[in-house]
């Protein structure tokens, strides 16, 4: 269990919904993989139509909706989208996502910082998606965000924790939770993030585009738990050469 955004959560696996083939999978992920936090892009929250239901109707009432500002090109748009998202969902959890470019989808840390300053003052629980930069993470901590969400690798690449050397200092230095977001393609990548000491991970592509998203969410959920347990126990060091050790050492020495 861990405390974040004023809530106590059992699951450290957060799931993005934007790429799912069918929103009815959300309920199954909640019940089978025990996912409690679902990120929803405000740009995708549409009214019910004769063909489709609003995504919000699929989110279990005890789960947390984290509204996502994706699509915002600057801090003004992100703030406006967050405000609209709060109206639509009654959730004050907001993932601030402002991309620098649509080719790599790298977050724009500068605009993100500006948006977060405004949103924290407006009483949101703010979760900024950032390029892994310790300085920005510290500034965000100072202004009062709930957590930082640095990317593990570029979004949708399934490359795992490619930015490890940049993520470690953030995990070590900031006191607020660190949620690794983007680039995690396999359950073993999620376990790796947790072993490093991340507090949670957010997965979208790897679950949504798998052939069985619910089963894959279960796999991720187990990997996250395993990685966290290992971190709590403390991982053993790696050695270049075999370490000779035996309870008979004293006698062998003669």
């Amino acid at each position: 269990m861990f405390k974040i955004g004023g809530r106590i959560l059992k699951s450290r696996l957060f799931v993005g919904t934007g790429k799912l083939p069918d929103y009815s999978l959300i309920e199954k992920m909640y019940s089978e993989a025990k996912v409690e936090v679902f990120a929803v892009a405000v740009r995708r929250i549409g009214p019910n139509t004769k063909h489709t239901k609003n995504v919000l109707e699929y989110i279990p009432k005890d789960a947390i909706t984290m509204v996502n500002t994706s699509g915002a090109m600057n801090h003004k748009e992100a703030v406006k989208i967050a405000q609209i998202g709060r109206e639509l969902t009654s959730s004050d959890w907001v993932k601030v996502e402002i991309e620098k470019d649509t080719k790599y989808l790298f977050p724009d840390n500068y605009e993100t910082l500006k948006a977060c300053e405004i949103l924290v003052k407006e009483g949101f629980k703010v979760f900024p998606y950032i390029y892994p930069d310790l300085n920005i993470a510290k500034e965000l901590e100072q202004i009062g965000v709930e957590a930082v969400m640095p990317l593990g690798s570029p979004i949708g690449t399934n490359k795992g924790i490619g930015c490890e050397v940049l993520l470690k200092p953030i995990i070590n230095e900031v006191k607020i939770p660190v949620i690794i977001d983007a680039g995690i393609g396999r359950p073993s990548h999620a376990a790796h993030a947790m072993e490093l000491g991340a507090d949670a991970v957010l997965i979208n592509t790897a679950i949504a585009t798998s052939s069985d998203p619910v089963k894959m969410a279960v796999a991720f959920s187990k990997a996250v738990e395993a990685g966290r347990l290992a971190f709590e126990v403390g991982l053993l060091k790696e050695y270049e050469y075999a370490q000779a050790s035996s309870p008979l050492d004293e006698f062998i020495k003669g």
Partner: protein, 370 residues
């Protein structure tokens, strides 16, 4: 853009007739980043086994970048007045046909009709006529549309930068503009008179719009008017150029094939399904993040086959006649003939059967006005 296009065409001319061997093509297809010569080679592929490999790669890239989602939209024709003498177009001034434009009340009837179908993303279209559909007319249509739909785009004649700025302020977010053909000689032959004769002004149109804060631009050729591989190549590079110059904007490509518009025009080139598919796959592989749009010009079976491979956006239930949604119209009066005439519901059902999610909303209403 002119310089970029010139350099690109030099690369094209070096590899124009170069058909890569099976092994060379496979080497290209395992690369993470392709260069311009790779793109020409992919466009020249003929071996069907390689096209199948391209399809597999394209599917993976599409899912990774866009998920299992198909965005649906509809075009809304508000005026077919046109001053241009384009030899191939159903709205051309050369064609003797009834001309009309919708007034506000009629527009609202059309918009309500589309909204009732569940459509939430709309493209406003006109012919090019600065008298009968002047800028103020287009602007007023857009301001009505932004009240109905979360995403409003335009496919109207090239406007000036300050005009795009005004439209961005009222909440228009996207622009579609087809260059028709990127080959200047052919362009000049196909456009006999009217403001559309200005090749360069048209080519630079998406840049003028994106500079002012538009979020999206869709570009492409009308395949069949000129050398298809060359036009596909130029369009893909046009998209790349825009992605590089406006990194925050969402850029899409569309490759409409010529369809008869009762003008008597016979295209110089016929583009087979195989070629058409190859162009879409090459675009996806070369630019994994580009949106790819397929219109109702294409027949249902082909649209269905491509939707889970490389398509991100498709029109549904389209009418190309002015006032075609609310009042029954002779579709021969449309800009072009539609092939996939299925209703929105029918298309939604196919999308779901393919294991994809139909999406109607892609933008936050009101944010475009900031």
């Amino acid at each position: 853009m002119m310089e970029y296009l010139k350099e690109a065409l030099e690369v094209y001319s070096q590899y124009e007739n170069y058909i890569p061997s099976f092994d060379e093509a496979r080497e290209i297809l395992i690369k993470e980043f392709l260069d311009k010569s790779d793109l020409v080679k992919l466009l020249n592929i003929e071996d069907e086994r390689l096209i199948r490999i391209m399809a597999k790669k394209a599917k993976k890239l599409t899912e990774a970048n866009f998920g299992k989602v198909i965005m649906l939209f509809a075009p809304l024709y508000i005026s077919n007045f046109c001053q241009n003498g384009c030899t191939y177009c159903g709205f051309s001034n050369l064609k003797n046909c009834p001309r009309e434009r919708l007034e506000r009340e009629q527009m609202e009837i059309e918009m309500k009709s589309l909204k009732d179908e569940g459509i939430d993303s709309v493209i406003i279209l006109t012919g090019e006529d600065r008298v009968n559909s002047d800028f103020e007319y287009i602007k007023s249509a857009c301001s009505v549309a932004v009240d109905y739909f979360s995403e409003v785009s335009i496919e109207v004649y090239p406007l000036l930068e300050n005009e795009y700025e005004e439209l961005a302020k009222i909440g228009v977010v996207g622009i579609t503009i087809y260059q028709e053909t990127y080959q200047k000689d052919d362009y000049e032959k196909l456009h006999l008179f009217g403001p559309k004769k200005d090749y360069e002004f048209r080519l630079l149109t998406p840049e003028r719009a994106l500079k002012t804060g538009f979020h999206e631009a869709c570009v492409g050729p009308l395949l069949g008017l000129s050398h298809p591989e060359k036009d596909a190549f130029c369009a893909i590079l046009h998209a790349e150029y825009l992605m590089n110059k406006f990194p925050k904007a969402e850029i899409s490509l569309s490759f409409p094939r010529f369809r008869d518009a009762n003008t008597g025009f016979k295209p110089s080139y016929l583009v087979s399904d195989k070629e058409y598919i190859k162009f879409l796959l090459a675009a996806r592989i070369y630019l994994p993040r580009v949106g790819i749009v397929i219109s109702t010009r294409e027949r249902a079976a082909l649209r269905d086959a491509l939707m889970d491979i490389c398509i991100t956006k498709m029109s549904a239930g389209s009418k190309t006649t002015v006032g075609g949604y609310a009042t029954s119209k002779d579709e021969k009066l449309g800009q072009f003939e539609i092939d996939d005439s299925r209703s929105v519901s029918e298309i939604v059902n196919v999308i779901i059967q393919k294991g994809l999610r139909p999406e109607f909303t892609n933008w936050v209403k009101g944010v475009g006005k900031l």
